[in-house]
């Protein structure tokens, strides 16, 4: 940012706006068929955080919607011990945690863009983390790769309820989202497992996801 023609510069003091303790979660999924799973991951994590007295927010990327079948779409959560100052900075600028609901999204999508150094990637896959790592952009600063076979633990749920900011009458976290959220908890302890179990429809799936998560340290 500069003052331009009169030569006066107003450099934006980015460090002044650092939000210590803020964790950003970005979830990538595929439109229509798997959108509920992404929405459920962010809703469950934000809800679990709220149970712990934390500040949180969850939302879908409105610009990606209305979605079309299988197009890449995103959902977000922010969790903090303090009031969230960046509430209406619409997209997560520097995610701490990226979750991929469908494994092939790791190819050809900028899933690690802006990732905070040492950040975490959670992928729903049956593959070993070493195999997933081969598809990731080098130099992304990824610190931890976690894989979980969410599809082997739960069945994906499909509903038209819960779109456009409305509540989801079918409930939250009955499908892949439960083990995927469990994997997030295992990988980075964003919230406590009991808090997560308390807000999802399938707490056992969340716990099994937590237990079966395989971690690969990269940094």
């Amino acid at each position: 940012m500069s003052g331009g023609d009169r030569g006066v510069a107003w450099a934006f003091p980015r460090e002044l706006f650092e939000e210590k303790g803020l964790r950003q979660v970005t979830v990538w999924t595929r439109g229509v068929v798997l959108i509920k799973e992404a929405r459920d991951v962010v809703t469950a994590l934000a809800g679990a955080a709220a149970r712990e007295g934390k500040q949180s927010q969850a939302w879908e990327n409105y610009v990606d919607l209305p979605d079309r079948i299988n197009v890449p779409v995103k959902a977000y959560a922010r969790i903090s011990d303090r009031p969230i100052e960046s509430r209406y900075i619409y997209e997560n600028e520097a995610p701490d945690i990226v979750v991929v609901v469908e494994e092939s999204l790791v190819k050809g999508n900028p899933i690690l863009d802006g990732l905070r150094p040492g950040g975490t990637l959670v992928v729903n896959t049956r593959r070993r983390p070493e195999e997933i790592a081969r598809f990731l952009t080098p130099g992304s600063g990824l610190g931890l790769l976690a894989v979980v076979d969410a599809a082997g633990i739960a069945t994906t749920e499909k509903t038209l309820s819960g779109q456009e900011g409305a509540s989801d009458a079918s409930g939250i976290g009955g499908g892949w989202a439960a083990p995927l959220s469990g994997a997030v908890v295992r990988a980075c302890g964003l919230v406590g497992l009991p808090s997560l179990e308390a807000v999802v429809k399938a707490p056992e799936a969340a716990r099994i996801g937590y237990e079966r998560t395989i971690l690969l340290e990269l940094a």
């Binding site: 003052g3 706006f17 969850a58 939302w59 409105y62 209406y88 456009e164 900011g165 509540s167």
Partner: protein
């Protein structure tokens, strides 16, 4: 006691509508309003809400249905966004002219072209002079509370006017926030059932919306004017009683933040206030005398409260999240309104600046608010521009530089061009 939940703005409003025990809902889908409609439909289907829900074939019909239902004595709710708001334009004045307290939730959306789902206040502000109360909620909690306060104030016999309860599309409507859902008994205490002064009744026929002679025009319009004037007092009292019952206290018309000794003030409305407040707070921490004023009410416009809050400020900047092409001053709607409210403060003792930002639903970034603040602080340091065009202080006083006269800025373009610096 109530309970807390993470709710989006649309769901928060649906809860308010349910607790307000609305009788008739007329709907027509358009993003981002759609979520309210589907949530209310779910509530009715699940037996949580006993209301008549009528799916119109367009927004003009939607408002016409509410017009009739309200005239028959029903508490009514409608909502829309963007071009849906403007499609119903014809019906707004008849509803307020008949003094019917219909409530319309507007989740902002940019007007076409191009087709854009993004939020912009232009849709609602197009309707600002139709005799409806109007204000913006910054959070889902404020959206819920505003719905209740507006029914209460709008149905007051001293007001009897419809209300636009606005929220920024997707920022407020689609992001969850923590919401205290009040106890229904508290809501019943605050908002008793709608008791219309007169209703459509075959036993006692009346005419609503008839043709009149021109001689009947002045008194009819004057009554609507007086009702809008009176709504300042009624709104203030409603917010006061709201605080007593629910424990959440709102400045009814203008909300001040770090404004007491501020030399520079930014006036905002709606969701982007949250980002602006963050920037103002950081600059305060650096010792800058900057504050913020959030307009909770746009109609009625809080002239006196705003003027009082701006007393002592050297520079007042106004954020406009609306496009008003060719408008006086070259800023947006709120800039012209603030200029009028502060009457002539643009020259001499106080400088008034306008900032148009966030059009099309673009995020108004912290960088942009920081830049607005620096432009205002810079003007405050350089001193006021005299009517002659000369500054009273500053090394380049006497130069009628273009920057001295530039009052309104369009972001990000003027920021990138360095227009504010001098």
């Amino acid at each position: 006691m109530g309970k807390k939940a993470l709710l989006t703005g649309v769901v928060a409003v649906a809860h308010a509508v349910k607790m307000a025990d609305v009788d008739v809902i007329a709907s027509y889908p358009i993003r981002p309003y759609t979520g309210v409609m589907s949530e209310l439909a779910r509530m009715i289907a699940d037996g949580e809400l006993d209301a008549e829900m009528i799916r119109a074939e367009g927004e003009h019909s939607q408002l016409s249905i509410a017009y009739g239902a309200s005239a028959a004595g029903a508490r009514t709710f409608v909502g829309s966004s963007g071009v849906g708001v403007t499609y119903a334009y014809e019906v707004y004045s008849p509803i307020s002219g008949a003094r019917l307290p219909v409530q319309m939730m507007i989740a902002d959306r940019t007007l076409d072209p191009p087709g854009d789902f993004g939020s912009e206040h232009t849709d609602a502000l197009c309707c600002r002079d139709q005799g409806w109360l109007m204000g913006w909620a910054e959070t889902p909690q404020e959206a819920l509370d505003m719905c209740l306060v507006y029914y209460r104030a709008g149905e007051d016999p001293q007001v009897s006017l419809p209300q636009y309860a606005c929220q920024d599309g997707y920022f407020v409507s689609h992001i969850t926030g923590e919401v205290a859902i009040p106890d229904p008994a508290q809501v019943r205490e605050f908002l008793p059932p709608f008791r219309p002064v007169r209703v459509l009744d075959p036993a006692k026929p009346i005419a609503v919306g008839p043709q009149i002679e021109p001689s009947m025009g002045p008194p009819l319009q004057y009554q609507r004017y007086l009702a809008m004037q009176e709504s300042r007092r009624v709104l203030t009292e409603a917010y006061e009683e709201f605080a007593g019952i629910f424990g959440r206290r709102y400045a009814p018309l203008v909300e001040a933040f770090l404004a007491d000794d501020a030399e520079v003030l930014l006036v905002t409305s709606g969701a982007h206030t949250a980002t602006a407040r963050n920037v103002v707070q950081k600059l305060r921490g650096l010792g800058e005398k900057i504050g913020l004023l959030k307009l909770r009410s746009i109609r009625p416009f809080p002239d006196r409260e705003l003027a009082a809050a701006c007393d002592g400020a050297k520079v007042v900047g106004v954020l406009d999240n609306d496009a008003a092409f060719g408008i006086s001053g070259g800023g947006g709607v709120l800039y012209t309104e603030v200029c009028t409210a502060l009457q002539g403060g643009g020259l001499g003792d106080r400088e008034l600046l306008g900032f148009v930002a966030g059009l099309g639903g673009e995020v108004i970034s912290r960088e942009e608010f920081y830049w607005m603040a620096q432009v205002m602080l810079d003007r405050a340091r350089r001193g006021p521009v005299a009517a002659s065009g000369k500054r009273e202080s500053g090394g380049d006083a006497g130069l009628m530089a273009r920057e001295n006269w530039k009052k309104t800025f369009w972001l990000p373009f003027d920021m990138e061009a360095g227009e504010g610096a001098a």
